[in-house]
Amino acid sequence: MSTLTFHEVSVRYGTHTVLHEVSLEVPEGETVGLVGESGCGKSTLARAAVGLAPVTSGAILLDGRPVPTRGRRPVQMVFQDPYSSLDPRMTVGESIAEALPGRPARRERQQEIARLLALVHLDPGRAGDLPGQLSGGQRQRVALARALAARPQVILADEITSALDVSVQGAVLNLIRDMRRELGLSMLFISHDLAVVRYVADHLAVLHAGRIVEHGPAARVLGDPRHDYTRHLLASAHPLKEHT
C-alpha cells in the first residue's frame, strides 16, 4: 500500500470551478473520510485521481510520483450505484477477471476470482451469475472485489452505501473495516453521512464548496470541530439528541 497525495488540485469545467486547490493526503494503510454536501466536489476529487475528471492545475501523486491516468490504474474506485457499476451482460466472474493484471491462465484466473469473492464474503459459486441475479449489497461486494482484483495501492469508495438499504449497509461497512485490518488498505471513503464516516475513518476531511475547510483525526474533528461549517454539519447529524 502507498500514500496518495492531492497537491493543490483544481478542477474547472468551463468557467465553473469545482475544486479550488485542494490538498489532501491519504496515508499508507489508513482510511480518510471525506464529507460534504452534494455538489461540493467530493466525487470530482475521486474521479480526478483515476483520470475520469480533468485536473486543471495541481498534481495527484502516489508515493511522490504522478498517478497514471491510462491503463490499469494503481488507484481503484468503487462507485455509488451498484445497479449501474456492473455490466448487466457480463457475469460476476468476467467482470472481476477483466480487472486482473496480466493474462493469467484459465485455472489461475478462476482461483483468483474465487479467492476475491470469498474475500468479500460472497459464495465463489456465484461467479457465473449475472448482476441481475444479485441484490444491491451483493453487487456492491462484487464491485469491491473487482477493485481489489486490480491489486490497487489505494481504494476510492464513493458513497458506496448510500444506495443500499440500512440492513445491508451495515454488512458492507463491516466488510470495509475487515479489509482495512486484513489487507492494510489505504482508502479515501467519501460519504455525506457523518455517522457512517465516523465508523470507518481514521482521518476526516470536510469539503465545502470545493475547498477543504477542516482536516484532522476523525475523533478530533467530530469531538472538537473548529470550522463553522463542520459544526453546522454535526448539528444537522444530531437531530435526535433531545429525544433519546
Binding site: E37, L52, S85, E98, V166, A171, P239
Partner: protein, 600 residues
C-alpha cells in the same frame, strides 16, 4: 422470443421465413423453369400454366419472381450490412479516436443526416456506376449517416454508465471496451433498427433497378422485373404487379419483424380475479385517515406482486404517524394508496379507506377530496413540471379546486411560498424549477400542498434526496406547518432517525405488513419485534461503539411475488421456529410476532 406471442410478430416472422426460403432455394427449385425460353408463348397473360404470364422470351414470370428473391434479398442485406458497419464505426468514433477527432466526425455525420436519403443514393449510384455492386454500395453508404447517428446516441448513453468508467480504470482498452461492454448493451435497438433498414433497402433497390440504375440484364431482381413488365402494364398488369407484390411482402416481413421485436419485451400479466372482498367496515369518527385491511396488488412480469398485504392504520386529527421499512416493504405503495394515486391495473382493496371523511374506494373521490390532502414526493427534481414557472404551478391548485381567478391564485401562491420560508417569493414564483435548489423545491412542494387547507399531509421520503443540512430545514418546516394548520402527517421513510424525530407514533412495515406499531419515543429502546430491533441496531449513529462490528440482518428481503405462508421475517429471524414459519402472526397489542419481546 416473446415477440412471437403477438400476432404482428407471428405474421412478420412467418412472412420472413417464406421470403428467406425463396431466397435460399428459389434458384435451385425454379431456376430451370425461369430460364426456359418458349418462343411459342411470348408475352402471354395469366394462365393455369403461367400464373402471372410470361415475358418477351416466353419465360415464366412467376418462377422469375421467385428466383429474383435471392438477388433482391442479398443486395438488400449487403447494403444494410455496409451501412451498419460503416455507421457503427462512425458512431463509435468519439470513443475510439478520442474527443477532438470524434467531435469532428460527429459533426460531419450530423450534416450528412440532413441530406435527403434518396439524393445520397442517386449521387453514390452515379459515382459508383450502374450495376448491382454500385447500387449496393450506394444504398449502403447512403444509409450509414442515419445509423451512425443512432449508434452515437446509444453509445453515448452506455459510456456514461459507471461500469464503463470502472472498466477504464481497470485498464480495458478502447477496442475491447467497445466489443465487450458497449456492443452487447446496445445490441437490442441496433438489431431492431437493422431489420427495419433492410426492409427500406429492399424498396430502394427495387426503385434503383426500376430506374435502370441497379441490376443490369441478364441478371434480374424484383425492380428489374417491374421495369420489364411496365411496358405492357395496360395489357398484362400482373407482369409488373407480381414483382411489386413480392417487394411489398418482403418489405412487410422485415418491418413487421422489427416492429414486433421493438415492442417485444413488455409483457403485461392480467391480475387473477379478486378474492372475497374484506368485510366492509366504517371508519372511526375522529380520524383524518382510516384504512382497514388495505391490500394492494400490482401486475408484474412474474405474476402479481402483493405489495401491501392487509395493513390497517389510522391517523387522528393533527397526529403525526411515521411508516418505516426497507425497500420492498410496501411503505411507499401504502402512501400512494392512501393518497388515492393508484389506478388500474393496480388493484386496491380494503374494508374501508377513508381520508378526511371521503371514501377513497368510491369513484371520483380524489376530486371531492380536493385540497384536504397534500402530498410531498421523494424526488424534488421530478415533482415539478420543468417547462412551467413555479408560481403558476402552485396557483393551478387554487384555480382548479377553489375556483380562484388567475391573479388571486398567483397572489396566494406567492403568499404560500413565503409561508414555506422561500426568500423573495414574488421573484421566485416567476422562476422555473431548475432555478431552485433541491431543498427549495421540496419546500415549494410543501407550499403547493398548503394552497388549500390540508387536513392530512402524506410525505413519501421527503428528505431522502436532500443533504443533511437541508433535511433539517425541511423537517422543521413540516413541524411548523403542522403547528400552524393543525394538519395530520403521514411520513414515509427508511430512516429511523427522521421518523423518531418528527412523529408521535411509528408503524414498522415488512413484506407488505405492519409488524409493529409503537410510540416513536419507544422505537430505540422498547421495540419488541426482532425486525424493528435489528433495523434500529443496524444504523450507525454518532454514538455507535467503534470497536464492535455493526449489527446486520442476515439473509435477503422477501420477494413480494412469493408471499410466505408464515411470518415473512422468519427466514432472517434468530428466534424463529417451525410455528413462525407456518402460521402468520397477527398484529396483537401493537406487535405481529409469536416471540414478541423475547431476548435474542
Amino acid at each position: 422470443m416473446r415477440a412471437l406471442r403477438r400476432p404482428v410478430g407471428l405474421v412478420g416472422v412467418a412472412l420472413l421465413a417464406l421470403v428467406l426460403f425463396a431466397a435460399a432455394f428459389g434458384p435451385v427449385l425454379w431456376g430451370d423453369r425461369a430460364a426456359a425460353v418458349d418462343t411459342a408463348d411470348l408475352l402471354a397473360g395469366p394462365s393455369a400454366e403461367h400464373w402471372i404470364g410470361t415475358d418477351n422470351l416466353g419465360r415464366d414470370l412467376f418462377a422469375r419472381v421467385l428466383v429474383a428473391a435471392r438477388l433482391s434479398i442479398l443486395l438488400a442485406l449487403a447494403a444494410t450490412a455496409i451501412g451498419m458497419v460503416l455507421g457503427f464505426l462512425l458512431g463509435a468514433a468519439p470513443m475510439l479516436l478520442g474527443r477532438r477527432l470524434g467531435r469532428l466526425i460527429t459533426a460531419a455525420v450530423n450534416v450528412l443526416v440532413a441530406f435527403p436519403g434518396l439524393l445520397l443514393v442517386l449521387f453514390f449510384a452515379v459515382v459508383f456506376g450502374v450495376g448491382a455492386r454500385g447500387a449496393a454500395l450506394a444504398v449502403g453508404l447512403a444509409g450509414a449517416p442515419a445509423f451512425a447517428r443512432l449508434c452515437h446516441t446509444l453509445i453515448a448513453g452506455v459510456s456514461e454508465r459507471d461500469y464503463v468508467a470502472a472498466a477504464r480504470i481497470a485498464g480495458v482498452g478502447r477496442v475491447r471496451m467497445l466489443w465487450r461492454h458497449v456492443l452487447p448493451n446496445i445490441a437490442e435497438p441496433v438489431i431492431v433498427y437493422a431489420t427495419m433498414t433492410a426492409g427500406a433497402a429492399l424498396l430502394t433497390f427495387a426503385g434503383l433497378s426500376f430506374l435502370g440504375l441497379g441490376v443490369q440484364a441478364p441478371d434480374y431482381d424484383w425492380g428489374k422485373l417491374m421495369q420489364d413488365g411496365l411496358n405492357g402494364i395496360y395489357v398484362h398488369p400482373l407482369a409488373a404487379l407480381g414483382p411489386g407484390i413480392a417487394v411489398v411482402l418482403a418489405g412487410l416481413a422485415f418491418n413487421l419483424t422489427g416492429e414486433a421485436f421493438a415492442a417485444g419485451p413488455r409483457r403485461t400479466h392480467v391480475l387473477p380475479p379478486a378474492g372475497p372482498p374484506s368485510p366492509a367496515t366504517t371508519p372511526a369518527a375522529t380520524t383524518v385517515l382510516s384504512a382497514d385491511d388495505l391490500r394492494v396488488t400490482i401486475p408484474g412480469p412474474n405474476g402479481p406482486i402483493h405489495a401491501v398485504r392487509g395493513v390497517s392504520l389510522t391517523v387522528g386529527d393533527g397526529e403525526a404517524v411515521g411508516v418505516v421499512g426497507e425497500s420492498g416493504s410496501g411503505k411507499s405503495v401504502t402512501a400512494l394508496a392512501v393518497a388515492g394515486l393508484l389506478e388500474p391495473p393496480v388493484r386496491v382493496e380494503a374494508g374501508h379507506l377513508a381520508v378526511a371523511g371521503e371514501d377513497l374506494l368510491a369513484p371520483g373521490a380524489s376530486r371531492r377530496l380536493g385540497t384536504a390532502l397534500a402530498v410531498v414526493f421523494q424526488d424534488p427534481m421530478t415533482s415539478f413540471n420543468p417547462a412551467h414557472r413555479v408560481g403558476p404551478q402552485l396557483a393551478e391548485v387554487s384555480r382548479f379546486h377553489q375556483g380562484m381567478g388567475r391573479r388571486a391564485a398567483f397572489a396566494r401562491a406567492v403568499d404560500r411560498l413565503r409561508a414555506v420560508r422561500i426568500g423573495d417569493p414574488a421573484r421566485r414564483a416567476r422562476q422555473y424549477p431548475f432555478e431552485f435548489s433541491g431543498g427549495m423545491r421540496q419546500r415549494a412542494m410543501i407550499g403547493m400542498g398548503l394552497m388549500g387547507e390540508p387536513r392530512l399531509i402524506v410525505a413519501d421520503e421527503p428528505t431522502t434526496a436532500l443533504d443533511v443540512t437541508v433535511q433539517r430545514q425541511v423537517l422543521d418546516l413540516l413541524a411548523d406547518v403542522r403547528r400552524d394548520t393543525g394538519a395530520a402527517l403521514l411520513l414515509i421513510s427508511h430512516d429511523v432517525s427522521v421518523v423518531t424525530d418528527v412523529c408521535d407514533r411509528v408503524l414498522v412495515m415488512y413484506a407488505g405488513r405492519v409488524v409493529e406499531e409503537l410510540p416513536a419515543k419507544d422505537l430505540r429502546a422498547l421495540a419488541r419485534h426482532p425486525y424493528t430491533r435489528a433495523l434500529v441496531a443496524a444504523v450507525p449513529d454518532m454514538e455507535t461503539d467503534l470497536d464492535r462490528p455493526l449489527a446486520v440482518i442476515p439473509g435477503l428481503p422477501v420477494d413480494p411475488v412469493e408471499a410466505p405462508a408464515g411470518c415473512a421475517f422468519a427466514p432472517r429471524c434468530p428466534l424463529a421456529d417451525d410455528h413462525c414459519r407456518a402460521v402468520p402472526p397477527p398484529l396483537l397489542d401493537g406487535v405481529a410476532c409469536h416471540k414478541a419481546g423475547e431476548a435474542q
